[in-house]
Symmetry: D2
Subunit: 355 residues, 4 copies
């Protein structure tokens, strides 16, 4: 593969540039008989969509996804599912400046050097817009898994310096930050407003939890469930770190503290493992956290070079989230779903059952 | 694949249980013409070997690796390289107790439920001994890359609560901890001695750095270099977290602080990105950190269940490192090398050159 | 993968049913810098298109392909190329009869039993219409290879009992049969007319030749060039046999006759090997032949069963080629191109050059 | 992958040169709980072994296979199975002549040009000896499938000009030719003796049949069962053609003749399809034929060139079968088994059951 396919048995292949004609995906390997319609995908796409609050980019995307194949009379047929979103809001803008500049912390520099060219309009393939297709494909996996008792949900656990304790899943869906504590929302809004005044951006941390995962998903040695989840989450734009369970806190833990003891009545007493032992799901909730870097596109001028190697001062204007992490929760849920779905089918293939 | 193969063009497939007859690997896709002999592999194997200090398990493994194919007249031929290490130190021990128990925080529980059985002798396939073959295969990648200017080195950056600042690569190789600061070694030894008296274990953090990586390695969207490194490192036994560059510290960073500015004379001024932008190497050093959990096998009794679902008290005796992280540095270097090597060949395949 | 992706480095993933909304493909791994526009693809699509003569199905398909991504300012960018053909000629027809019947020699029976359902409209995914996307993707590979001196061309070498000797490539393009001998065309037309009067169909043989293939493409042991070509060609609808070089005639050959001797001046003196030795291209033309079975959809009644297991008499009406092999030449060229293209990139990845 | 791995869920990776230290394989993805011992593999290895009759090479290979991992207490554990055969009969021979010559119809020429070097001792990796590991791995698949009612058997259906009708499976196992008609054996022996006197070799055709294959194996579009079988069989040394069912005879068939009609009582009335419809198994026996070219190594001098491009006359001495096809039956059975086994697991993964 050349980078745009995820999975082995449940595969998702995507295409599309930010300002190209369309975004699309092919979801291959979905078992037959899953009830599926476009609204099932649209729901998650709408949660990810920019413009859903004043704290995210104001680009208006209809983002209406079409299912072009693989579904017949309301159910999946076992054949590949073609997905398409036409790009409708492609501002005809003057890109002459950005065309030859490498914006700091962007993929401009690496795409240019890897390919000798790049579609500079809106970031091209490196745009966060590319993740729409992951969310659409992830929605299929989520629906399949949900019918088998697996629920995958995420929330923003940190916004820059502000740490949020988990209160309820209901709260998460009722604010644009995916904040799990309704009382903290005004604080987050104030923080974001200040950030905008500062012409700056900030990082975030998202937590994703899959409940109801049966014991047995994951393949030792290299295709461990946690390794594949790490790859899925690190593959999201702007992610710089991934933890499972206790994560980096495990460094300072003692063995007597970290190990999750078990009793016949209560099963595992703690979940430092984050639901994965030896690369295989243990039946506990699978818990992952991801660190997102601050949005690179800010209006505070930065030093850089251009294609000719000359010094330039870059100011990134346009419609950009001051915190890319705010929209990351649905994407993280989708990627977690894709990793679990693939291992679900693999487990069934090798061992004849999954959960 | 079913989990025991790493890579797409440079593939490593391994087999072997801790107390089985042998460990082995097949390295496929190595370009022809690389000078290679068994000593090239043995060097890294010896660095990983248990028993090299009193702070690691006292199991004596000869761990002499044999190259069975793919090398002719001192050079690789382009055909697959077969590697073998016979297991010579398999103590005939009484496993009757451990056989039916699930040791807390071990893979016993998940292997049993996934496969309906397990080779319980010494942890079977889930033993850290399995990583010997990764180190052997990684040594081939390291030698290939070294000849092209890429140097991959690691060190222990934290041992439980003790944080170590980087002083020199020379220091790293002169102590059993891979500690980069010679002055800290007595402190580490004292800490380990106390840990042993406490019948406990502790976690660790390892940092791996690849210098000389050319710009252009990595494939958007899913097969990003950082995503594949995350998978490679999270796939090492006991790893619970992976960071690239600023990692989780990026959460609290401002965009104006995080973005690595560039000037024509000095190139990148900082390296918060950790050498990867948009999933593609930028030409800066690739910097990764991994969190290792404390060794699960400790002699302090722990609550667990057995195969019949009854409560048991588990005491893990035997030869175990009180800090599995101490031996992790060569393994992390090897996995980083495998990820880079595969992307080196992929970049050359797609774009006709690498570096 | 689950069956709808071809290739390892140059990958083609397709979707689409005969009477669904659209057909599509994602071509991933195309090197950057290839000049490409929709007309490059349309040319081959038009050659494959039904309705181009009275001897093929009269379905009118506009089959206008759109390039949705991966091309910028007239050149490929290295990112995935999204292709789409909307289905415009979907007759709203009464499928109530065919819905529950298994047409003899069709995929109806196997799809139904594999998936428990099927999109019965026009054969769904098993329709020859699916091959349009292979032709479109193959056109990209052909253009890339053509610029490097590789020319891939095919012709119909047998139509039922009629065997055609190769006369010229010019002749091939000047008749609807891809017949390499202009003088035989009236005979073929008469044969087809009689076949239609007989309400019957017939098989065909297609020969594909790739000239200019450099020595060195193909990977021993399993991913041999000839093995991958065999898979590519056997994967075309209705193909029941594949030969390389002397093919089945090699069974009766003596070693002294079969072996292609070489001299310094003339190189290989014969080409019984068909351009492949030990799974690797030898620099000679790569020659393959494929056998296509007669079209299964004929109006002569046939015995079969329905979904309920009852006896039925099936008469397949509708727009069907009496010889599916007539349209197979462009598809065979495309699949040969995809196999060669993938090995071109793999060879460059492993050995740093191809040709 | 780089060519030495077969399969997606049930994967076989092999290594080893004819005159290297050992041959080996890793079989990954075998479900747990299969009773397996070395004798299970040895049986098929012995059937393939040279020296089992005076009509095959007189090289004496002990070919004792060892199982190094993945089996515990007599059953597979679900972890990778390591296989090893040490090379014991490596004659220390003078290779100085062959070293710089390209034997006609051998892989010498292509290996040299692909890799810039080759292990010339006994053909290195291109030797038929490499297939021993395929047979060993195939034996595992055969045993798994046999327990589920799938029986895979082959026979020699043509030896040069001599065509053999199928009489009984018992006959096949009672002669060194795998000839299905005991009465023809003296004729075959006489033919081979004459061939040897002529210092020449001849081709052969082998037929492989898998009975008991359930309906539903195979994945449209590219990973069809017949396409993967074609690849598996074309990937055997010396194979130049593969047919499924009617094969090339389908070219001259009418649709009314080719299509396999069905009735409720008798199921399919014929098997021109060879057990595969639309790339998916139909429940009928899967029937494949493969054409093998004559052995290239003959003592009749042939014209060739050497590494320096000079004309040479090549006479291949040494231990060579005058008909490589004689030993091909167990190899063809093994490759058919590997293809079916992989699709068995894939079908179970996607659809939850197989057979």
């Amino acid at each position: 593969m050349s980078g745009n396919t995820f999975g082995k048995l449940f595969t998702v292949t995507t295409f599309g540039e930010s300002h190209g004609e369309a975004l699309g995906a092919i979801v291959d390997g979905c078992p037959p008989g899953l009830a599926l319609c476009e609204d099932d995908l649209q729901r998650d796409l709408d949660r990810r969509r920019p413009g859903s609050s004043r704290h995210t980019t104001q680009r208006k995307e209809a983002d209406r996804v079409r299912i072009l194949s693989g579904v017949f009379e309301g159910e999946t047929t076992g054949t590949p599912i073609g997905l398409l979103i036409e790009n409708t809001d492609q501002r005809s803008k003057d890109y002459s400046k950005i065309k030859d500049q490498f914006r700091p912390a962007h993929a401009d520099y690496t795409y240019h050097h890897k390919y000798g060219r790049r579609d500079y309009r809106g970031g091209g393939r490196s745009s966060a817009r590319e993740t729409a297709m992951r969310v659409a494909a992830g929605a299929i996996a989520r629906k399949y898994l949900a019918a088998r008792g697996v629920e995958i949900r995420g929330y923003m656990s940190r916004l820059g310096p502000l740490e949020m304790a988990f209160k309820s899943w209901e709260a998460v869906e009722q604010n644009a930050f995916f904040c799990p504590d309704a009382e903290r929302v005004p604080e987050l809004e104030a923080y974001m407003d200040q950030l905008r005044r500062d012409q700056d951006s900030v990082g975030a941390e998202v937590t994703v939890i899959a409940e109801g995962v049966p014991v047995g998903l994951g393949e030792p040695v290299f295709d461990r469930l946690d390794a594949d989840i790490a790859r899925a989450l690190m593959g999201i734009n702007a992610v710089k770190g991934v933890e499972i369970g206790a994560g980096f806190a495990a460094v300072a833990q003692r063995g007597s503290e970290h190990r999750d003891e078990m009793t016949p009545d209560d099963g595992f007493l703690t979940n430092n493992a984050g639901g994965v032992l030896g690369g295989i799901s243990s039946g506990q909730p699978v818990v992952a956290r991801l660190a997102l870097k601050p949005t690179s596109s800010i209006t505070t001028p930065g030093r850089s070079v251009n294609v000719q190697g000359e010094a330039v001062e870059v100011v990134t204007k346009g419609r950009h989230d001051p915190c890319v992490g705010i929209r990351a929760t649905p994407i993280a849920e989708a990627m977690m779903a894709l990793a679990l779905m693939d291992h679900w089918l693999r487990q069934r293939g090798q061992n004849g059952e999954a959960g």
